[in-house]
């Protein structure tokens, strides 16, 4: 049959990813039928990443056709998650997942990073073209609103999405989903709830709307109702992974680790992935459930051994658990497979050297232990705080208490608002009998930064805004995640905009402070009011720009 080539389609640059050479040849022939000549091919996830890395900046891939089953240890969904989370492709690059009919249900459940569409084998060039045209039509219809979202004009985006839904567009459901996302970003959770309810009134049981509604309940502080809703959703959709993940989030936030672990186990059993096993392992470590943690990390390490998602910190975590449970030989064994490959990953190498120091110390090889500790201390100078904790633990284990205290003090001082890190540091110090140090360091730093904040607020009251901005910036640098400092910083900079007009740099800063506040103090009245005021200022600036 003759296909009339569409110029928009025929100009696309495509990447085919399939481990079967026959399938690649078929797909290539179909693309040629559509006039697509610029086609690269990859037989594995590794080859695909190479092709993506080599795409010229001026001519990136427009379309990726990826088979779900890639034969090796990385499947199409994991590759998509890796590529999207690392932003290796442009957001506009279309990703179609090719699946066998038998695995479609399974594949479609995994929706953390959903592909733009699914193509079920066998399909024809005409089917592929129809899907592309449908995608472009949706993209065109939503583009004006999405553009506004991308520049942070969420109010403008909401207005655009409302227009589409009011006009009864065929993309109403997409518009509602994105409108709810904007409202959530603006902390307008009751309005987000109303939008999800609107979607559910159009069609009951739509999974994303039900989950969104439950999430909005949680964000609005109606936690009990959220739990009831999520439980009902998972009862009606037993394979909906997102429901268990939301349930786990809620339980974790309430400190109910056992229930969180149960929900994470369920999510992992439905769609196993390294990410989900890792979540199980981290929660189990927090609970002190070392047996589960060991099993989960071992699963992660085994499943990612030859995958593009391999992460040496999984080996490092497993090795540390083995050390803590008295298995130094297994600890050293866990590190081996990644030590050479990740020679330049300083944080990992620091942990690995610390684990070696402890392991040799335990087996009585003092010389090797001292050499490993020296290496660990050197690496710790440029490593992340988590790695520093591992090194300080090794110091305490080998009787170098002063050194251990010195580096843990530095790590805590620089990150005294990171609750997880503080908890981990306290545990290291407790094991070494020095728990009191953590509190002392945190208090001193906090007092100093809060004094700066008071000074900045005082200057703002006297209308000395430029000075206030400089001082609060210093306080933010010292206490980047302190709610009080962030609120003051947002207030001072909002005041600046309201008096001097919209300045992009200041507005970007405010947006960042509000985003951090949103993460730290979700849904609190003060934050919601400031977000609303900020949006008013943006609207006003836009209206002024138009007139």
């Amino acid at each position: 049959m003759v296909i009339i080539q569409n110029s928009r389609v025929s100009k696309l640059k495509a990447l085919l990813i399939d481990d079967m050479s026959g399938m690649r040849a078929n797909l290539r022939a179909q693309l040629h039928q559509l006039g697509i000549q610029d086609v690269a091919q990859a037989a594995s996830a590794t080859e695909a990443l190479k092709a993506i890395a080599q795409q010229p900046a001026g001519r990136p891939f427009d379309l990726v056709l990826c088979d779900y089953n890639l034969g090796g240890s990385t499947n199409g969904q994991q590759l998509l998650e890796h590529v999207r989370s690392k932003k290796l492709l442009l957001p506009a690059t279309v990703w179609f997942m090719v699946t066998a009919e038998s695995s479609y249900d399974y594949v479609a459940t995994a929706s953390d990073y959903a592909p733009d569409d699914y193509l079920i084998k066998p399909f024809t060039a005409t089917n592929l073209e129809s899907r592309l045209m449908r995608h472009f039509e949706r993209q065109d219809a939503l583009e004006p609103a999405i553009k506004r979202m991308s520049v942070g004009d969420l109010e403008g985006a909401i207005a655009q999405f409302s227009k589409l839904t009011e006009a009864g567009s065929k993309f109403t459901m997409d518009a509602l989903r994105l409108k709810a996302r904007c409202l959530t970003s603006l902390n307008r959770h009751d309005e987000a709830k109303a939008v999800f309810a609107q979607a559910l009134s159009i069609r009951q049981g739509v999974p994303w709307a039900e989950l969104g509604f439950a999430r909005a309940l949680r964000d609005a502080g109606e936690t009990e109702k959220a739990v009831t809703a999520v439980v009902a959703i998972s009862a009606a959709n037993p394979t909906l992974v997102g429901a268990y993940e939301l349930l786990a989030e809620i339980h974790q936030a309430r400190g109910e680790d056992a229930q969180a672990l149960d929900a994470l186990h369920k999510a992992e059993s439905i769609v196993p992935s390294a990410k989900r096993s890792r979540a199980v392992a981290e929660t189990a470590v927090r609970m002190g459930n070392m047996e589960t943690a060991t099993a989960a990390y071992a699963k992660v390490v085994a499943s990612t051994r030859t995958s593009v998602t391999k992460n040496p910190y999984d080996n490092a975590a497993l090795a540390q658990i083995y050390m803590d449970t008295g298995a130094p030989d297994k600890a050293l064994e866990a590190l081996k497979p990644v030590q050479r490959e990740f020679a330049n990953e300083t944080g990992f190498q620091a942990i690995a050297a610390a684990v070696e120091a402890r392991a040799y110390g335990e087996t009585g090889d003092e010389e090797a232990a001292a050499a490993a500790l020296e290496r660990a201390l050197e690496l710790a100078k440029n490593a992340d705080p988590e790695a520093t904790l591992a090194v300080s633990k090794a110091c305490f284990a080998l009787g170098k208490d002063a050194e251990g205290e010195r580096i843990i003090t530095n790590a805590v001082r620089a990150n005294h608002e990171d609750a997880r890190l503080i908890a981990a540091a306290k545990k290291v110090l407790k094991d070494a009998g020095r728990e009191e140090i953590a509190g002392r360091i945190v208090d001193a730093q906090v007092q100093e930064m809060l004094a700066l904040t008071e000074r900045a607020l005082g200057l703002a009251k006297k209308a000395q805004l430029a000075e206030a901005q400089a001082i609060i910036a210093e306080a933010i640098a010292g206490l980047p995640n302190n709610v009080g400092v962030l609120v003051a910083a947002a207030q001072i900079n909002l005041l600046f905009i309201s008096q001097n007009g919209l300045d992009i740099e200041v507005a970007t800063r405010v947006r960042e402070y509000l985003a951090r506040l949103d993460a730290l103090a979700h849904g609190t009245e003060r934050v919601v009011k400031m977000s609303a005021f900020f949006n008013e200022l943006l609207l006003k600036a836009r209206a002024e720009a138009v007139t």
Partner: protein, 205 residues
């Protein structure tokens, strides 16, 4: 063991057929305008139909084993119908296929486009066996359902002696029933048209 063997064989057959279909498609395209055009067109249409029947059988088999789950997504019925019609691979002498959108229509409706396409393709192939001059593919809203229909101007139901395995109807029924909305489920209606011929209707809640 037996089941695993059957599954492997069928899977192999399906892949081999997909590959064969791709080859016959290429041959059909290359012979357009030649004296072979009619034969290669027929060959390609036959392999496509065979491939679709095998996939239909597998779907029905799975539905009997573990139930059929519809992945509901919002689709535009009119666009979808056009896509189905454009994607049909028909033998060269096949009658004309017409698409019609009946009022009231819906800008979007929730259904599994993959399964629905499979049902409509099976219905079209069936209608082509009896149609004299045309097959009409239509969509529209009726009593709160989206109704897809495939009508032919043949002799009508029960008036022709051609044997049927009933596979197509069973597949369409399974697909219809996999579509639910609250307490309502989809259904298939087969009836004669007052103006002559038969009509197949797929009602999706």
């Amino acid at each position: 063991m037996k089941d695993a063997l059957v599954a492997t064989v069928v899977h192999d057959l399906k892949n081999a057929l997909a590959s064969l279909t791709s080859s016959t498609g290429n041959i059909a395209e290359r012979t357009i305008g030649s004296e072979l055009e009619c034969d290669t067109g027929k060959l390609h249409a036959t392999t496509v139909a065979l491939s679709q029947r095998l996939v239909g059988f597998l779907t029905l088999y799975r539905s009997a084993e573990a139930g059929l789950k519809a992945q509901l997504r919002d689709n535009t019925p009119e666009d979808f119908l056009r896509e189905v019609a454009a994607g049909l691979v028909l033998p060269p002498q096949a009658v004309a296929i017409k698409t019609v959108t009946r009022e009231p229509s819906a800008p979007f409706w929730f259904f599994d486009d993959y399964l629905t396409r499979m049902a409509l393709e099976a219905a079209v192939h069936n209608a082509l066996r009896f149609a004299r001059s045309e097959v009409i593919l239509a969509c529209g809203m009726l009593d709160g359902y989206l109704v897809f229909s495939v009508a032919d101007d043949g002799p009508g139901l029960g008036k022709c002696g051609e044997p049927s395995t009933g596979l197509g109807t069973a597949l369409c029924q399974a697909i219809a029933q996999a579509h639910t909305n609250g307490t309502r489920a989809g259904k298939v209606v087969l009836r004669n048209r007052p103006e002559g011929g038969a009509i197949f209707e797929l009602w999706l809640p």
